[in-house]
């Protein structure tokens, strides 16, 4: 039993060495196919994360109060806004807190200033994004809120961008599924090609009385190896590419991409691609060899 297992492993290894160019072709094709798939999955996931996160960000209205106003006036305004039925919650960021944050982020800038020029700010979160314009209009009313100096809300362009992100997310899911099917097809055909190139060997094994399992196993192991090695290489390429792309977007300080949480980690991507690679490698070779191994 051990002797047979060792022979099968040895045969799988020898076959890959003997058919070096075929192995290389299979490995390259699988790597390219899985890289495209991995990049697509990563992109679709990032777009999904950003699209899921940003609406909350743009449900928020920033209300700046007069710098000359008192803290008492600020608290009264906060309480008044909180009573509005369209408002979900209000969070006060005092000018002292804002100054402390700015000092941490830009110490050279705050060091050059002798006084704190910042204002108290209220972060107002609407219950629904569609009510943003209505709440903003009310907050800008000097009669209702005399202590308010400025109101900043998500503008029209940003909402268009969010709509676009939603479309991109939907297309991304569709593209990923299509690519998955295409990857399966490409890998299966590549493995079929390697099996086809060895049909003579398979015929001889059949004729001398090798059992179908004995013929299939080394080739299924080869398929498994092709799938796993290809997926590892693809993971490395996608992770390297993703890291570069993330760095680029962070350098742009883009409000859309910059600080979305990356829950789809390198390990998750590698495991996903390895699972896909191993599955299509082993199943692909088992299916491809099936027609040549008939007792």
């Amino acid at each position: 039993m051990f002797s047979s297992a060792a022979f099968i492993l040895h045969e799988a290894w020898l076959n890959m060495r003997r058919h070096f160019w075929m192995t290389l072709a299979a490995l390259t094709t699988i790597t390219v196919a899985l890289t495209v798939l991995g990049a697509s999955v990563w992109t679709a996931w990032r777009v999904h994360e950003v699209a899921a996160q940003e609406p909350q960000k743009f449900n928020t209205i920033d209300v700046f109060l007069h710098p000359a106003g008192t803290r008492q006036a600020t608290l009264q305004t906060e309480a008044a806004i909180q009573k509005m039925p369209q408002v979900k919650q209000v969070r006060l960021v005092t000018k002292e807190q804002a100054w402390a944050m700015l000092t941490r982020r830009e110490p050279s800038l705050t060091h050059a200033l002798s006084v704190n020029p910042l204002m108290d700010r209220l972060e107002v979160q609407a219950k629904q994004s569609g009510q943003i314009a209505q709440i903003s209009g009310m907050l800008r009313s000097k009669t209702l809120f005399p202590d308010v100096m400025q109101v900043n809300d998500a503008n029209y362009e940003v909402r268009v961008l969010l709509g676009f992100a939603h479309v991109v997310r939907t297309i991304g899911i569709f593209l990923t599924l299509s690519l998955f099917a295409a990857t399966l097809f490409i890998v299966f055909n590549t493995i079929r090609l390697t099996v086809y190139s060895r049909r003579r060997e398979i015929r001889i094994m059949n004729l001398v009385g090798a059992t179908p399992a004995f013929i299939r196993l080394p080739m299924v192991l080869e398929g498994l190896f092709h799938g796993l090695a290809g997926s590892l290489l693809a993971s490395l390429l996608v992770i390297a590419g993703a890291s570069q792309v993330s760095r680029f977007f962070q350098s742009l300080h883009s409000p859309l991409i910059g600080d979305a949480p990356a829950s789809f980690t390198a390990a998750t991507l590698t495991l996903l691609l390895m699972a896909v690679g191993a599955l299509i490698g082993a199943v692909g070779s088992a299916l491809a060899i099936h027609r040549y191994v008939r007792p």
Partner: protein
């Protein structure tokens, strides 16, 4: 001595007949490859199967190693009905039936030794058993001096000897050869035939499908002649042509 070692304890002679066909027909779509063929070959016989291309010679051999199935009739190999055999039993049948082909069917990227060893290893022989049997088989066919040569480095006759060694290594009781001399010159063909004759003298049943008039006429062994799928002649000591008909004239 080597040959005795290789064939010691082999399975020949288990059944009363090595091959038995009873009213066997094989049909491909509209064409009859074999029609109502009945014959019996005893263990240890040496038989030539002759006839023009498409007469059914190769189909007959394929039936015996179960590459084809009879449309009707019964095919027994060493007493086993190969028609009712389960597909998973086919590999076991083939381990008792050695096969030799016109194109030698050697693996080009393996050495002479590896080609023979491969056939043993894929049938589950241990490494030790393989190391014991491969040199014996190579010695028997006169190829023990070139175990490390690749097929492209040896002549056609030598390649056929390696193919025979591969078939012999599994100690088959029945050896089937489909045009074994088809790609060889007359002298080399005679050498191969002598080798097959020698293997037969050690107890194996040998069936040779051939077009080679010279080797059939030289041996004067049992001849089965096929024409359009029908067995038209079964002669105990025959020649390629119909000698009994000539004698009657």
């Amino acid at each position: 001595m080597t040959q005795t070692l290789l064939y010691s304890g082999k399975k020949a002679g288990v059944s009363a007949s090595a091959v038995e066909l009873s009213k066997v027909s094989v049909r491909y779509a509209e064409q009859n490859a074999l029609q109502q063929v009945s014959l019996c070959i005893s263990p240890g016989e040496f038989v030539f199967i002759v006839g023009p291309s498409g007469a059914g010679k190769s189909t007959l051999l394929k039936l015996l190693y179960r590459a084809e199935k009879a449309t009707e009739g019964k095919v027994l190999v060493n007493g086993t009905d190969v028609g009712t055999m389960k597909p998973r039993e086919t590999p076991l049948l083939r381990r008792h039936v050695g096969m030799i082909f016109q194109d030698f069917s050697l693996l080009p990227d393996r050495t002479v030794y590896e080609n023979v060893a491969f056939a043993l290893r894929v049938t589950g022989a241990s490494r030790r058993e393989t190391h014991r049997r491969v040199p014996l088989a190579l010695e028997m066919v006169g190829m023990a001096h070139r175990p490390d040569a690749f097929p492209h480095q040896i002549s056609g006759g030598e390649q056929q000897r390696v193919a025979i060694a591969r078939a012999l290594a599994a100690q088959p009781s029945l050896l089937l050869a489909d045009e074994p001399t088809g790609n060889l010159d007359p002298d080399t063909s005679l050498g191969i035939l002598e080798l097959l004759h020698f293997i037969n003298s050690q107890g194996a049943t040998v069936l040779i499908a051939t077009h080679d008039v010279a080797i059939v006429d030289r041996q004067e062994r049992r001849v089965l002649e096929f024409q359009a799928g029908k067995l038209v002649r079964d002669e105990a000591c025959g020649r390629y042509g119909n000698t009994s008909a000539a004698e009657e004239e």
